[in-house]
């Protein structure tokens, strides 16, 4: 597979503050690659280094195999969709999209054709003469994306472009972005703090924390096999217990013994176990599950599609359970005595 972007041991310091610390990764041609992490984790700094607005303090960035150290932003084969969108308010839609092409001295009639093609791509045909101030939030978003795409960059960089949109519009734009990605085939590098966006759109996700990459993998790998408590928690509120592993089971304080799928390599010692709330069954009676505990419902959050319960177990631990709504036995009330349980294949060891 051809590699479009490669970071080799990249570190970025602002004064004494280390924003990005020894980061390396490769992005394959045509991939939708996401940098996911809480704000301040360095993900935007990585994007700005790839686009050329920041220089790495150490390490090297290559695009299509070429080192980028001495290439200024306006000569890189990348285009960036800014978080603030940064559409030019004094130019109309046509002039915005044509901006990059005019600088490259593309003939006027070709520019016209390509702008039209782009407006068709985002389903805004005939928008050429509109002013930026006349566009809705979602329309601005689309224009910002095609203003970058029209230059046929090797890599399209997107810096939390859906941040300022409200829930409804964000969901629409996710669908839209995935479609555009499929139609143009360009490599995308996408920065976000929203794990939902990253899981839904990406081919590969790099989860970041404090300037470091914690895990790189496909959405399913990241979600199902988090390699640390941080990733497990960040990707989706999961139940994490600390315990000691021995012979296919983990002894957890305030909870008891949890059976897990034994892993050959694992010798006995301290481990973390993660159990996804939606893998846990809840009911008045439960059987045929590997791990079953009794407890009392402390909180119940109705969420339409599902109900999230916080259950206090008899040994003192608290666990969250996501159950379909309404379940076989209806919705449990606060204070109700219930049993919860799960299969050992869903006790994931974090090592």
């Amino acid at each position: 597979m051809k590699i479009d972007v490669e970071l080799k041991n990249v570190t970025k310091k602002f004064g004494d503050v280390v924003a990005v610390s020894d980061v390396s990764f490769q992005v394959e041609k045509g991939q939708f690659f996401s940098l996911l992490g809480p704000s301040g984790c360095g993900k935007t700094t990585i994007l700005r280094m790839i686009s050329g607005f920041e220089k790495p303090t150490e390490g090297e960035i290559l695009i299509e195999g070429e080192p980028m150290a001495d290439v200024p932003p306006f000569k890189r084969p990348t285009n960036l969709v800014f978080q603030s969108l940064a559409l030019f308010p004094h130019l109309n839609v046509y002039e915005n999209i044509a901006f990059g092409l005019k600088i490259k001295k593309i003939p006027e009639n070709e520019i016209k054709a390509r702008v039209k093609e782009m407006l068709d791509l985002v389903r805004l045909p005939g928008y050429e003469k509109r002013k930026i101030s006349q566009l809705s939030g979602g329309e601005k978003q689309r224009i910002a994306i095609v203003r970058a795409l029209v230059n046929k960059p090797t890599v399209l960089l997107l810096d939390e472009p859906l941040g300022p949109l409200d829930l409804k519009l964000r969901e629409e734009m996710i669908v839209e972005l995935k479609r555009i990605k499929r139609e143009v085939g360009t490599t995308f590098i996408y920065v976000t703090h929203d794990q939902g966006e990253a899981l839904t759109m990406s081919d590969k996700i790099a989860v970041m924390k404090a300037g470091k990459i914690m895990q790189i993998g496909s959405p399913i790998e990241i979600y199902e096999q988090p390699n640390s408590e941080f990733v497990a928690n960040f990707i989706g509120g999961t139940n994490v217990f600390k315990g000691r592993y021995e012979n296919g089971a983990v002894e957890v304080d305030n909870l008891g013994k949890i059976t897990v799928t034994p892993e050959c390599q694992l010798s006995k010692g301290s481990v973390l176990v993660s159990i996804k709330p939606e893998k846990i069954f809840i009911g008045r009676k439960l059987n045929a599950l590997d791990n079953i505990f009794a407890g009392e419902v402390k909180e119940a959050y109705y969420q339409g599609r599902v109900v999230t319960y916080r259950v206090l177990l008899e040994n003192g631990s608290s666990i969250s359970v996501v159950a379909p709504s309404p379940g076989m036995e209806g919705i449990f009330g606060i204070g109700e005595k219930v049993k919860i349980g799960w299969n050992k294949k869903d006790s994931k060891l974090i090592t």
Binding site: P72, F74, T78, F82, L87, F88, H90, I103, A148, N151
Partner: protein
């Protein structure tokens, strides 16, 4: 609440009358047959026509226009360069530079005028229009720089980055994105500089040689004659109307660009 607010309105009304009544009378008298109230044969352009017969007065207005125009051009160019530097770069001594830049705003113009004149005389430079222009550039640069610094700061830097990202070099970015977007700020800075130069007496009175600007001309006549001679009402009205017109334009630009 009501009592105190009525009193407030009464005092404010009194103050407004004190501000505008004398100026209104000035404007009225400039269109009046005689140089005192009551109105006679009102309105007449008599004094304005009379004014045309005083070459010194006409020259003074010409000089003022010239001084203000050149001053404005220079102060705006320095304002753009200085404003961009202050808004977009961090250099050693930026705070001191800013402080020095603002000093002419607080220095009383008579002190500045007299010390500048003494200095120039010692350097062998004699009072002239050029000297007034230099003086006016000095006092207007702080204003244009301040106005434009705040405009550059208010301009989203990612717009400039977007232009560069799309392939524009630094100069092209400035020409195609930065400059068009701060144009309203440039206009406001220019008008402000023009008005300051157009109205200044305190500085120009020291720096003017035989070629006096309009306010200096009026002032020197006023000091010689204890009465407001009619052609001076006409001349003052012209200066005032022009300044107010420009100020109105400036507010319009500010409101539209906000």
């Amino acid at each position: 609440m009501t009592k105190s607010s009525i009193m407030f309105i009464v005092v404010l009304g009194f103050l407004l009358i004190l501000t505008f009544f004398p100026i209104a009378i000035l404007l009225l008298l400039s269109l009046n047959e005689t140089s005192t109230l009551p109105l006679r044969n009102f309105p007449t352009l008599k004094w304005y026509i009379e004014l045309l017969r005083f070459p010194a007065a006409i020259n003074a207005v010409k000089y003022s226009l010239m001084v203000a125009s050149v001053t404005t051009g220079a102060a705006v160019i320095f304002g753009i360069c200085g404003g961009y530097a202050l808004a977009r770069t961090n250099f050693a001594g930026k705070k001191i530079f800013t402080g020095l830049l603002l000093m002419p705003m607080v220095t009383p113009y008579i002190i500045m005028g007299f010390s500048l004149m003494s200095f120039l005389l010692k350097m062998g430079v004699n009072p002239s229009l050029i000297v007034i222009i230099i003086g006016h550039i000095l006092i207007t640069i702080p204003y244009t720089t301040l106005v434009l610094t705040s405009r550059f700061i208010a301009l989203d830097i990612s717009l400039e980055e977007a232009a560069m990202d799309l392939g524009a070099g630094k100069f092209t970015t400035f020409r195609k994105v930065t400059l068009p977007l701060i144009m309203p700020g440039v206009a406001v800075a220019a008008i402000l500089a023009f008005i300051i130069s157009w109205e200044d007496v305190a500085l120009a009175v020291f720096l003017a040689g035989t070629e006096q600007t309009a306010p200096v001309y009026i002032y020197s006549l006023l000091m010689k004659l204890p009465k407001f001679v009619p052609i001076l009402t006409a001349m003052s009205s012209i200066i005032l109307s022009f300044a107010i017109g420009l100020a109105f334009l400036m507010r319009m630009i500010e409101r539209i660009s906000a």
